[in-house]
Symmetry: C2
Subunit: 298 residues, 2 copies
C-alpha cells in the first residue's frame, strides 16, 4: 500500500512512505503478550496504518478523530455508550455480530438470523408470565400486539421447553424506559420462558421508528456523512438456555420506514415480520406470530 | 479479504462473511457529504471491516476495545490526552506526522526531519531572550547544557532571521511542568527568535528517559503487548515563521537508553544528537550544537 503511486499517473505522485515503519511497530510486541492479543492488535495496526497511507491522513484530520473519540468517552455512562454508537454508525457492531455468530454456530447454520444487541438491553428484567402484557405505561397512540410463537431446535425442529426469552422495545415516543422518566421501570421489557410445547406469548406495542441519540459524536458523524439517524421499527429479542447458543436478534415491521436505510445496518431480510389485524382478542388489535430456531451449543 | 479461507488448509475453514456488507455501509454516505470526509471515512470503514474479518473479531473482543476507548475519553482533560496516547502506542501519530510532512514539504525534502508533537506542548509560552536559561526550577541532578545552532533555508542554506523556536523538555524526574506542582510555571520551556545570523542559543537540561503515563488505557495496551512505557531522552522543538513550514520535531540524546525501543516510535537516525563536555562556560557543563533546516512554504 505504501509503495504504490497514485493511479491517475498525473501531476502529483503519491509520496513514498517508510516501508519498514509498520512492521517495526508490530514487531515491538513482546514475547509474553497473549497470542490472540498480539494477533488482533497486530492486524489492527496494519489496517489502521494502511488506511492512513491510503488517504494520506494529515495530523489535523487524525486529531479531529482523536477529539471525537475522547468526547464519545466523556459522554458515555451507564445509560449511554457513545463509543459503541460510533461503531454502530460505521457498521462495525453489525459485522462483529455476524462474525461471532458464524464462529459459534458453525457452517450448518439454520438457526434464526442474529442482529446487534444495541445499548438498551438490561440484564435485570424480572421474569414475566406467558400471555401477560409488558406494557406498564400505555402511550395514547399505542397499538397493542399479541406476539407469540414456538421456539424449536434448528436441526431437529423439536419444540424446546424452558428457553428464556428477553424482549424489549421502545415506546411510541422513540424512548426506552431508562431514557424516559415518564415510563415505569421495566416498561416494555419481558423475560419469558417457553412452556412444554415451546410456546411463548405476550402483549406488547407495535414498534415505531426512532432516531439513535444524535446529540454527540455519533450524531456528528452521521451529519458529516449526510445520513439520517433513524432506525426502522423493531423489537429486540435474546433467546437461549444452557444447552442452546443464546440468540441475539431484532425483528422489523415490514411496513416501517427506513427498512432499507437503518442507521446502524442491522436489518436482514429474514428478520422482517408482519403485524396483522387480530380477530376475537379484546386486549389486542394486532397479532405477530414469530417462531425462533436455536442452534445447540457445539 | 472476506472471501479467502484460512491458509493452513486444516480443520476449520474460515467462515464466509456477507461479501456485500461493507460496500453497503460505504454507499450509505449521502450526496451532500464533503468529498474528503466521504473518502476518509469510507476508507476507514473498509480497513476496519477488513481487520474484523481478518482476525474473526468477536463481539466480546470488540466490546473490550469500545470500553478501552470510552475510558480513554473519560480520562482525558486539558492536561492529558489518553486517546492520543493510545494512537501513539500503535505508532499512528508518528505515521500521520510523516504523511503530513511529506504532503507539506513535497518531494524535494531536504529539511530537518520531523517527529510527533506529543501531548505536552503549550501554546502560551512567553518569549525568551537568546543565551538565557529556561531552567526556572533547578533539579539537584540536573546537567546544564548550552544548546545552540543556526537555522537555515533547506534549499539555499542561507541563515534565517526571525524564526520562532519553541523548545520544551521534562525535568530529571520525568515530569513536564504542568504535570508537577513542584516546578515553576513554564519551567523548561522557551520561545526564542533567531537573530540576523540565524543564531539561537539557550541553557537547558540534559534530557532523561521517562515513561508515558501508564495508569490508563494507554498503559493497559502497553502491558497487553508486553512492552515498556519508556521514551528515550529527548528535547521537543517547533521552528517556523510565516514564510517557512513550521517544523515539529524532537532530538534524542545518543547515549540514552530506549533509543531503539521508543514506546511511541518517534526516533529517527537524523534526530539523534551528541551532548559534549563544554570548555570555558561557567554556567554549563555540556554543549549541544543543533542546526535546523526549514523548507519554504510552497
Amino acid at each position: 500500500m505504501s509503495q504504490t503511486n497514485g493511479t491517475d499517473g498525473a501531476t502529483k505522485p503519491k509520496p513514498q512512505y517508510d516501508p519498514d515503519f509498520t512492521s517495526s511497530v508490530i514487531k515491538a510486541t513482546g514475547p509474553k503478550a497473549n497470542p490472540r492479543v498480539a494477533q488482533v492488535v497486530g492486524s489492527l495496526i496494519q489496517h489502521l496504518h494502511d488506511f492512513a497511507r491510503d488517504v494520506d491522513l494529515t495530523v489535523d484530520e487524525w486529531m479531529m478523530g482523536v477529539n471525537m473519540i475522547n468526547r464519545a468517552g466523556q459522554m458515555s455512562n451507564e445509560r449511554r455508550n457513545e463509543g459503541q454508537l460510533l461503531c454502530d454508525v460505521i457498521g462495525l457492531e453489525s459485522l462483529v455480530d455476524e462474525i461471532t455468530n458464524k464462529q459459534l454456530v458453525g457452517a450448518d447454520y439454520e438457526a434464526t438470523k442474529t442482529a446487534i444487541l444495541g445499548p438498551f438491553f438490561r440484564h435485570d428484567t424480572p421474569p414475566t408470565k406467558n400471555d401477560t402484557s409488558i406494557i406498564k405505561t400505555m402511550p395514547k397512540d399505542g397499538e397493542v400486539t399479541y406476539m407469540h410463537g414456538i421456539v424449536r431446535d434448528a436441526a431437529t425442529n423439536e419444540p424446546l421447553k424452558g428457553i428464556t426469552i428477553d424482549i424489549w422495545q421502545c415506546s411510541t415516543n422513540g424512548l426506552y424506559e431508562q431514557q424516559d422518566p415518564e415510563q415505569a421501570e421495566f416498561n416494555l421489557r419481558g423475560k419469558l420462558t417457553t412452556d412444554e410445547n415451546g410456546y411463548y406469548g405476550l402483549y406488547c406495542l407495535r414498534p415505531v421508528p426512532y432516531p439513535v441519540p444524535d446529540d454527540g459524536p455519533g450524531g456528528e458523524l452521521l451529519q458529516l456523512l449526510d445520513r439520517h439517524p433513524y432506525r426502522p421499527a423493531h423489537i429486540h429479542i435474546i433467546a437461549g438456555s444452557d444447552k442452546y447458543t443464546p440468540l441475539t436478534t431484532q425483528i422489523f415491521d415490514k411496513t416501517s420506514k427506513y427498512l432499507a436505510e437503518d442507521s446502524v445496518f442491522a436489518v436482514k431480510d429474514d428478520l422482517v415480520v408482519d403485524f396483522v389485524p387480530v380477530q376475537g382478542k379484546e386486549n389486542a388489535s394486532l397479532e405477530l406470530t414469530y417462531d425462533i430456531k436455536l442452534a445447540k451449543i457445539l
